[in-house]
């Protein structure tokens, strides 16, 4: 093999390629796979003729188009599951907001699988100076993999939510690469409360100076779920900012959550302002949380750069305080866990969807309908 035949490296120095043969099948000992139970997801490392496309009902700004590798957004697959999804997809979901357009109502994309296994490609294009909110609701009723490729045009403002909820039976392997244009603003929130084995890789790169990206995450895992989020921010342009905040609550024997946060500040990215944070709340002895922040600076000329990571046990003093006010233990626990997520969720721009997400989290916690109702009334 000559140097010219080697697959091209993308900005993050990972392999980017549309050819499955460029990616070896992970065996679990590689750095980026070391936490993942690869045996449980191995079927998504190979093409399956029986798999279907994830589809969606077309609507305002949303269409379903033939998938073309040369017109699928700014990104190419970077790992085995994403290249297999890329190779399997026939039709892709296109969300398009023209330049200088303000879309007031959230654009909701409900992905739907009609096979036991389905792949998806969602291609989101927000034109220059446009403003929109996009909500992608994943289908948790099948094993799924794919990518949400997002392009935020210069000066545009996109607020996005990606929600995985429902069944805890299936495997979901997703890439979520976003390119943030010059002076553009992007907020991407990943809400993960479903799935048996989940691996989500949100990443941000910048197409020009002055871009701002916020990556938020809230995940709840129990009864042996594996939930992994790997965030990557690559600062390649000057005077951009990134703020990553992921929070997880976990419980139950064999439950395992992983957050790996990579931030790379390239030499040319002077004036960068970056901060990443992960907090995990471990509710009992059986569950395990891994949290790995990585900050790589190639220039010292940054405005600010920092990270924080903490994994803590449930605070019994909080429980005592609430119980000492007559609140039964079960409800007290639910209040504390719900409260744990509030500061992250408060940054979701859409008030409507912020409430929906809080509600879903409450439901997932088994919160009493009565309590939930009067919390709403009190607010």
């Amino acid at each position: 093999m000559t140097v010219l035949d080697a697959p091209p490296l993308d900005n993050a120095r990972r392999i980017s390629s549309a050819r499955p043969e460029d990616f070896v099948v992970p065996h679990g000992r590689e750095e980026e796979w070391r936490f993942t139970p690869v045996a449980k997801i191995a079927h998504l490392f190979e093409v399956d003729a029986q798999s279907g496309d994830l589809t969606v009902d077309p609507g305002s700004h949303v269409s379903v188009v033939d998938f073309r590798s040369d017109d699928a957004g700014h990104w190419l697959p970077t790992d085995r599951p994403s290249v297999i999804a890329w190779s399997s997809v026939h039709r892709s979901v296109r969300v398009e907001v023209p330049a200088d357009t303000v879309v007031a109502e959230p654009i909701v994309v409900r992905l739907r699988a009609d096979r036991a296994r389905a792949h998806g490609h969602v291609d989101i294009r927000i034109g220059r100076g446009a403003r929109a909110t996009v909500v992608v609701v994943h289908d948790a009723s099948a094993d799924t993999s794919g990518a949400i490729v997002t392009d935020v045009g210069d000066g545009a403002n996109l607020s996005m939510l990606s929600i995985l909820e429902g069944s805890v039976e299936h495997v979901h392997l997703w890439q979520w690469p976003t390119r943030v244009g010059r002076d553009a603003t992007f907020t991407g929130s990943a809400i993960t409360i479903g799935g048996r084995v989940v691996r989500i890789l949100p990443s941000v790169s910048y197409a020009g100076p002055g871009g701002s990206a916020t990556m938020l995450g809230a995940f709840l895992a129990d009864s042996g779920q594996f939930v992994e989020h790997r965030t990557l921010v690559e600062h390649v342009a000057p005077h951009c900012s990134s703020h990553v905040a992921y929070k997880g609550a976990l419980s139950g024997a064999g439950t395992h959550t992983v957050w790996v946060g990579d931030v790379v500040v390239r030499r040319e990215a002077v004036g960068t302002d970056t901060y990443e944070m992960n907090r995990n709340l471990v509710l009992d002895d059986g569950a395990r949380a891994d949290s790995v922040p990585n900050l790589e600076l190639e220039t010292g000329d940054v405005a600010s750069a920092g990270h924080a990571s903490a994994t803590g046990r449930f605070d019994d003093q909080q429980l005592f305080y609430l119980q000492a006010r007559g609140i039964p233990e079960r409800i007290a626990r639910q209040l504390v866990v719900r409260g744990f997520f509030v500061d992250v969720l408060a940054r979701i721009d859409s008030v409507e969807w912020r409430e929906i997400v809080l509600q879903r989290i409450a439901q997932r916690l088994g919160m009493d309908a009565d309590l939930e109702r009067h919390l709403e009334a009190a607010e």
């Binding site: 909080q318 305080y321 609430l322 119980q323 006010r325 007559g326 409260g339 509030v342 009334a377 607010e379």
Partner: protein, 254 residues
């Protein structure tokens, strides 16, 4: 008419090195309408008494009893005790991130009263109680105890007291960390609660300062895990001028 009856109470704190006895035979009866000040030096175990009554899991009762109107308190969970009519205003109120004061108050009021208060009357009730304690209405939107000053924390404790209306209130060093103005506001809030409900009170304090604002009916000197002397308000004056020296000696000698 309610009575909190504590008889020959012994309790230990659970530490890594094993249990250590802190309460060594406390006997005390608090009736509705009466205020008992329990005063003692640091480390005497007076705050432990408050926590044991409330049911903190860190402490283990080894013998003796606590009854509220004849009901065995010791077999109740922490929340059952609160619903039975006991309230502990804490010395160090705990921060609960992401839970607003307004949510918290309504949830606890619902639990203690056995039904959710009607929204309209509840909002007015909360507003009035806050005004009484000179609390800004935006306070209700803040997270429980998060970033509160010492004075705000204690006002918030008294606010809960006035909304939950317990039969017996236990105030654990409510005066600590308060400046004169805050102490006055908190004391007035408490006095209004006492007047309105006729509740019985156990007022735990190190200093006599708070007794200028809240007049006790009884004063108990607490040393080395038990009450070594009881008397009327005049006993507080003795402590004010002489300190605990005399009583510490007496406890060691006995």
């Amino acid at each position: 008419m309610s009575t909190l009856a504590i008889r020959d109470l012994h309790a230990s704190v659970i530490t890594d090195a094993g249990p250590r006895e802190i309460l060594r035979g406390v006997t005390l009866s608090v009736d509705s309408g009466s205020t008992h000040a329990v005063m003692g030096p640091n480390g005497s175990g007076k705050s432990t008494l408050a926590y044991v009554i409330a049911g903190h899991p860190k402490y283990q009762v080894t013998s003796g009893s606590i009854e509220l109107d004849g009901q065995d308190v010791l077999t109740m969970s922490v929340d059952e005790r609160a619903r039975a009519g006991l309230f502990l205003a804490m010395q160090y109120p705990v921060e609960i991130p992401g839970v607003s004061v307004s949510n918290f108050l309504r949830t606890s009021a619902t639990a203690v009263r056995g039904e959710a208060p009607k929204l309209r009357t509840w909002l007015k009730e909360m507003k009035d109680a806050m005004a009484e304690l000179q609390m800004d209405p935006v306070f209700a939107e803040r997270n429980v105890n998060e970033g509160f000053s010492g004075g705000e924390k204690k006002r918030h404790e008294i606010l809960q007291l006035s909304l939950l209306k317990p039969k017996i209130a236990i105030l654990d060093e409510t005066d600590s960390g308060l400046d004169v103005d805050a102490l006055r506001v908190v004391s007035e809030g408490f006095n209004a609660f006492r007047e309105e409900t006729g509740a019985g009170t156990l007022l735990i304090t190190h200093y006599t300062r708070i007794l200028r604002y809240i007049t006790p009916d009884y004063v108990h000197v607490f040393v080395d895990g038990r009450i070594v002397e009881s008397g009327g308000p005049e006993l507080a004056a003795v402590l004010e001028s002489e300190g605990y020296e005399r009583f510490i000696g007496a406890a060691t000698a006995s």
